[in-house]
Symmetry: C2
């Protein structure tokens, strides 16, 4: 039988493709991956699934329980729904390899990903270097590897897409140790927080990667009706309210191409207007 990785796009249940829907209709088991990304809080994926039930594949499931899913796929038609395009996260490549090793046939149904949708900023998608994830700083745990990668991208003339941390179904250390299935409320990093964390590292390292004058795009809820794409210096963006999650941040290589520059100016004008209106 087949294990299908079905991309469900960026935003809500309407982003699924006709091909994806067709496969879902004949599936025996449907999992929804909720570890590496989420759909908009208003998404109602059940709406397009009819009477089928969805099994949530959270972090615990993906890390510890996914063998169950692979075993089912040896004799049933199993679907793993994944936000975005399925093979953009290493987690899923790894899962696919394990399926290969068990001789399970894998099929991928592609969909929109932030990796290409970021083109909506007007920045050229092939002018991006390695994508980074910015995790929530937590007391003494303040990793800096994303700073190094941004620095490397900039040196190479490339922009950097920063995906911002989400924490869904996290247990407190205490509850984890007592094995209590009690979860903290979900937490989504916003653009302002990401900039703050970049500044913390910049202050320590002083390597001119994330200065108040660094050019950036802030992108919220990309692909949805109320998406927000604003551009400015980190200083300008640090005080803008981008609203509901999910947020992403692009740190630009300072030399924008002509078309990129025009898009930047249009998206920057909105910020300037907002900051002006606020100071009146």
């Amino acid at each position: 039988m087949v294990l299908y990785f079905i991309g469900i796009g960026l935003c809500d249940e309407k982003d699924i493709t006709l091909r994806g829907l067709e496969v879902i209709e004949s599936a025996d088991k449907i999992y929804l991956e909720s570890y590496t990304a989420i759909l908009s809080p208003n998404a109602n994926i059940e709406k397009v699934l009819g009477k089928k039930t969805i099994i949530e594949a959270d972090r615990k499931f993906i890390e510890e329980g996914s063998d169950i899913m692979l075993d089912e796929a040896t004799n049933q038609q199993v679907v793993l729904l994944v936000v975005g395009d399925p093979l953009c996260a290493t987690t899923h490549s790894d899962l696919m390899l394990r399926a290969y090793e068990k001789n399970i046939q894998v099929e991928i149904i592609h969909n929109a990903s932030i990796i290409s949708a970021i083109g909506a900023t007007g920045l050229q998608v092939y002018k991006f270097g390695e994508t980074v994830s910015i995790p929530f700083f937590d007391g003494n745990w303040q990793p800096e590897s994303f700073y190094d990668k941004i620095k490397l991208n900039m040196k190479q003339g490339l922009h950097t897409l920063c995906l911002l941390d989400i924490k869904v179904k996290e247990q407190s250390l205490d509850n984890m140790m007592r094995n209590l299935p009690i979860f903290e409320s979900p937490k989504y990093m916003n653009i302002n927080q990401a900039i703050k964390q970049l500044y913390i590292i910049e202050k320590k390292r002083n390597e001119r990667v994330a200065l108040p004058s660094t050019l950036a795009f802030g992108v919220a809820r990309i692909g949805s009706k109320n998406q927000l794409i604003l551009a400015g210096t980190l200083e300008q963006l640090s005080s803008v309210d981008f609203g509901e999650p999910l947020h992403s941040l692009v740190l630009c290589h300072p030399e924008l191409h002509l078309i990129e520059k025009k898009f930047f100016e249009i998206a920057n004008k909105r910020v300037i207007d907002q900051l002006k209106a606020r100071s009146v």
Copy 2:
């Protein structure tokens, strides 16, 4: 009113999203961009459009006639269908800018793009540098800029996605000069031809970018039922028949990550088996 850029994905009419379909249903005018990419030859986009007619937006239209479309969008709901994700091609960013300048509202409906779908190879999508296009060499016109970009990507530890040329609705010089609307049959560059052209430049430049030992993935008809993903050295891939278009080629940075390496080996085994079977 609104100008919608609707991504229709990689392969055929089933790759459209429910959101895209909804917008199409209420559209006044529907254009299909056929200049920068094409769907599979078996795609039947009319199937999902009901009674609506599609106007082909070919190269001539995009380059010379797109003002008509922009003007219509000032008082009608106009849709431009684009293969892949709409904002991955500079052509469309430029069109979007011109719409902004005319105060036309633009909405984008994202979809799968080769930029993220290339993850199906098992290569990490954020380990790709600038995407290049390899155009058909034509007598004395043998541009080398893509060779330089691949070289730069390799130096930076990045893979390179090479999009291979398509020529649809091209006029011969003679017919163009006589303004005769007679078009050559469509031409799609295959992987073997791309490797040949890379070798031609390599021979001239001798900068060790495209050697017979260079690691690569050849990808045909990605996202379709009969997609083919094979990996090997350029020498191995140069003699494989990948079948129908569209083809793409990935030149790998020689140091693959552990997971990438495993995917390479799986996809390489298929090539070795094929070459063995042939030599028997």
